[in-house]
Symmetry: C2
Subunit: 351 residues, 2 copies
């Protein structure tokens, strides 16, 4: 019997979830609830690629060799040092009779669950990849489970743009949900602060907060260049320049603009040490949503206690039903978000 979460594919150690497994069964044959995807491209997680690049001093052949070996040994792409994976795009080539994912053979899809739990096999030795970029052209197959998440790539958007949006689509969806909860609770004039507002998850979160009915949205950015970028986009009601790691600096910058603390603070900057600033920025009764993987659980928990701050602190869940569609629609509706994304993608390509 196939497990909804892929337990039947776990080979070592037994009894753990696919993400915690050191080895997955990546065989081609699918169970009744599974889907097989013919791989077109793998997007390595940024932290993973950075680690490999630095370990091998930029030697593309060595990087390629290690990625291949990881996939061969583990049956999935999970960097053993960073623990992270990435995502992939490909074409559905087999759908189990009982798969609930709604996919059809021939659909071009992106996997929205991490590669760290996706059975994967490579058949072309990654021959078309120079090892110099997170984008890995590849041939092979990947397996989706009953509870995996894959999104059909929209035909009206550049795939690279769609992927970049899907990669961070949990942030705007959760931001909108939390703002809606405050609205439904009758809170008037909801104020939102987005820390790291000019980035990908940040700009989508700003747009989501506005779309959900926030009265004032303050974007916090670290440097003049990002302030200009966000200012041109015209998404935020106010933009402040502050270092997210400086609790006093960031909180006083935001509360100066709002005249009070934020009802909802969204942390979208991937640097450690932003917990206390986010807590101090938030009004009593407010909510902090942490989307940064650099968030320290203990720093947040002890920080709120030490500051006697009655704030709700959410671990940003990358999954909400309909999150990809919601984020893509935001981008379609808001030219400013699209432009910010395109600028980010161009900057990354040039990098």
């Amino acid at each position: 019997m196939t497990s909804p979460i892929g337990l039947h594919r776990v080979m070592e150690p037994t009894g753990v979830l696919p993400q915690a497994a050191t080895r997955l069964d990546n065989s081609r044959e699918i169970g009744a609830t599974e889907v097989r995807v013919s791989v077109e491209r793998i997007n390595l997680d940024a932290a993973s690629f950075r680690q490999l690049h630095s370990k091998h001093k930029g030697n593309g052949a060595a990087i390629r060799r290690e990625v291949l070996e990881i996939i061969n040994v583990r049956g999935k792409m999970q960097n053993p040092v960073t623990g992270s994976g990435g995502m992939l795009i490909g074409t559905v080539d087999a759908v189990g009779a009982q798969s609930p994912l709604g996919l059809t053979v021939g659909d071009r899809v992106a996997t929205l669950v991490s590669l760290t739990l996706t059975p994967l096999a490579i058949s072309d030795g990654l021959a078309r990849w120079d090892g110099q970029s997170e984008q890995v052209p590849a041939r092979g197959h990947a397996i989706l489970f009953e509870r995996s998440i894959a999104a059909v790539l929209p035909t009206d958007l550049d795939p690279e743009l769609a992927l970049a949006v899907m990669d961070v689509c949990g942030a705007p969806a959760l931001t909108a949900r939390v703002v809606n909860q405050y609205r439904d609770a009758g809170r008037p004039e909801i104020a939102v602060a987005v820390i790291g507002a000019a980035g990908k998850s940040g700009s989508l979160s700003v747009a989501a907060a506005r779309a959900a009915g926030a009265k004032r949205v303050v974007g916090v950015v670290p440097v003049e260049r990002e302030r200009n970028l966000l200012e041109r986009a015209g998404l935020a009601d106010a933009i402040v320049l502050a270092d997210a790691r400086d609790p006093v600096g960031v909180s006083s910058a935001v509360t100066d603009v709002l005249g009070r603390g934020a009802d909802v603070t969204v942390v979208c900057v991937d640097v450690p040490g932003c917990e206390h600033g986010a807590i101090l920025t938030t009004a009593d009764g407010g909510t902090v949503i942490f989307f940064s993987m650099a968030t320290s659980f203990a720093a947040a928990a002890l920080g709120a206690e030490g500051l006697a701050a009655d704030v709700t602190m959410l671990i940003g869940n990358g999954y909400l039903p309909g999150h990809a569609t919601y984020a893509l629609d935001l981008l379609r509706r808001e030219d400013a978000v699209r432009e910010l994304f395109q600028a980010r993608i161009a900057a990354e390509a040039a990098h």
Copy 2:
């Protein structure tokens, strides 16, 4: 001017919060919003004492010397290795004219904010402490800020019992709040799972869930001895034996008993690796409250995404207004909770 959160007491490095400071100004003179406490006893954080005990191979004199040196150098008790502090009890001996804490000279109080951010000076060289226990008899003074939290010790309860309750009082308060939110949203028959239900924060969370109107409360415990303890207490509707680190084991044990996932899952076990089990235990639309300091932010965030679990994940905030009073009242009302606590305290004393 005195800062509500004690910024004026930070000496090194400048601009950080008191918790992040390497040195605080612990001078006796208080500002208009401060309170000075005459110290009676320090309770070192368990992780801190364990580290010191192991480093000095149980040599009490060496442990005492290091604790004294830490306090002298830092102006606060913060173990440089574990980063943790503890709490203290003492008697209020000066109250600034503008202090909002509601304390009076002569009140016997416990500080509910961490020692890691509390200015502290020792005057007796810790001469009455043998270095063999977390409980440190001490003379000296400590400073509370405008937003510090201190609770007057109740006169009807043994101080040790009251302290043990106050130490974990955020857990029952937040559990009750979340259960109330589901009740207010019209959710019928709320089911709660408490992982680590026979412990201090766990048993209080079980009692809080019931008091807040949960229909069914399942206690998860790791060993037979704790099952018996909890069974005798009669607090939970059902008790299951499972290893919280085994996602499949713990989730199937709970869902077998409930016939479905829990609406609210409370994690009260201080071991790493409980994130995925808690997520799998929780129904879609449910909430996981993580109270364990061993929680990994990334494991929770990536786990929920990987499992396509639409659950709200809360970082357990140790502070809620009125949390100490609420928890003490639970203990007063529920003899079973009081007995569990007394058994725990006795076991720790014997240990």
